[in-house]
Amino acid sequence: MTIVDTDLLIVGAGPVGLFGAYYAGVRGLRTAIVDSLPEVGGQVSAMYPEKQIFDIAGFPAVSGRDLVANLVEQAAPYRPAYLLGQEAQDLGRGPANLRVRTSTGTEIVCRAVVVTGGIGTFTPRRLPAGEDYLGRGLDYFVPSARPYEGKDVVVVGGGDSAVDWALMLHPVARTVTLVHRRRQFRAQHASLRHLEESPVSVIRDAQVTVTGGNGVLDHVEITVAGEDTPRRLDCQRLVAALGFTANLGPLRQWDLDLHDNRHLVVDSAMRTNVPGVFAAGDIVDYDGKVRLIAVGFGEVATAVNNAAVHIDPGAQLFPGHSTDNPAPEPRRTTCRT
């Protein structure tokens, strides 16, 4: 088991959580940030990485991907510890600290928590025909092209992730086939143009209905609308990019006051009803709440500065101006196993 000892735990590595990590650094807090997805950026990375966003103050236009990269860079001098691919599950409350256990068994000991969980835990939509081969040929994410070198790859889906991954993999894979349940793809026009010009073979109105192999995936069967018999394809790697579902998940068991069964009720200092647990961004609710990234940035600055006072009651609420001082030396979160 890994034990992480830190001052502030941020739950959710979306834009608001990442900006919170920056502010926690400004406050000199050791910070860890946990997210169930294997990459940072939350909903923006999972659903709209290529979309242009026009309502971030100071950025006339910025793509989701660039916004997330900038936020990571902004927090980087303070060396937050990223705990990705694990879901914050249980909250324990001791007299001097809070303890959060994650789905991979990591235990985080901290003195305050800021929940920036958006719409909850993102889970990839499952490919029922392929579940038997999860980790033995079936993947839901493609963080690196390496495992696909020289393989026959089938990508399932019709959105940006499916098209992007097919385009990313065809230079290294032996073959790439993109299978989509409908005629129309939902990906960006520019990506679809690249797809047309690429060697990726595209099968529309089709579904992967059978996966097979002796313990390790070696073929799939694809049922195409209007064809009597399924097509059998050699396939050692199958990628399902069918989108995500999100759910508040284990946060429901944290004894937090909920509104409409999905939002955390906070006061003007972004405190929840549980001492030491603050929240910000899309997940919170109060009278007049507007669910925009722009609003979440302000809320998380409020949440983190109030958390800093919760941790050290002698500290000032106001953090000073970012123009006052250069970045202080980071204090590192410690992880031991």
């Binding site: 909903q43 659903m47 409908r182 989108g243 579902t245 999100a246 759910n247 409409d260 069964n261 999905r262």
Partner: protein, 109 residues
């Protein structure tokens, strides 16, 4: 700020939108589907997959379908036939299953 489903869905109920919704906020009535405005996150994943183009943002609903903005809300706030209390925000359509009833507006069409 939610998306809404308008008249073209009635007696069609293709349900492709249900497969796309990341927050499971599209509920099945007897003859039509309804988006829960308290649960919709305005992501728009449902809109392009509707084969009858019944779905749009509440700010962009065609004039002839304006009444469906309020009607989607009523499905959750008003008492539907055969139910003891309004649906409210159940936190996911898979929890309730098909509701099997419609709003008065839809029932009379």
């Amino acid at each position: 700020m939610p998306y809404v489903i308008a008249g073209p869905c009635i007696d069609v109920m293709d349900k492709s939108c249900i497969e796309e919704c990341p927050v499971d906020c599209i509920y099945e009535g007897d003859r039509k589907l309804y988006i829960n405005p308290k649960e919709c996150i305005d992501c728009g994943a449902c809109e392009p997959v509707c084969p009858v183009e019944a779905i749009s943002q509440d700010r962009r609903v065609a004039p002839e379908y304006q009444e469906f903005v309020e009607d989607n809300r009523r499905f959750f706030t008003d008492l539907l036939p055969g139910r003891a209390q309004p649906l409210g925000a159940p936190g996911g359509a898979h929890k309730t299953g098909a509701i099997g009833a419609d709003t008065p507006l839809v029932a009379k069409l």
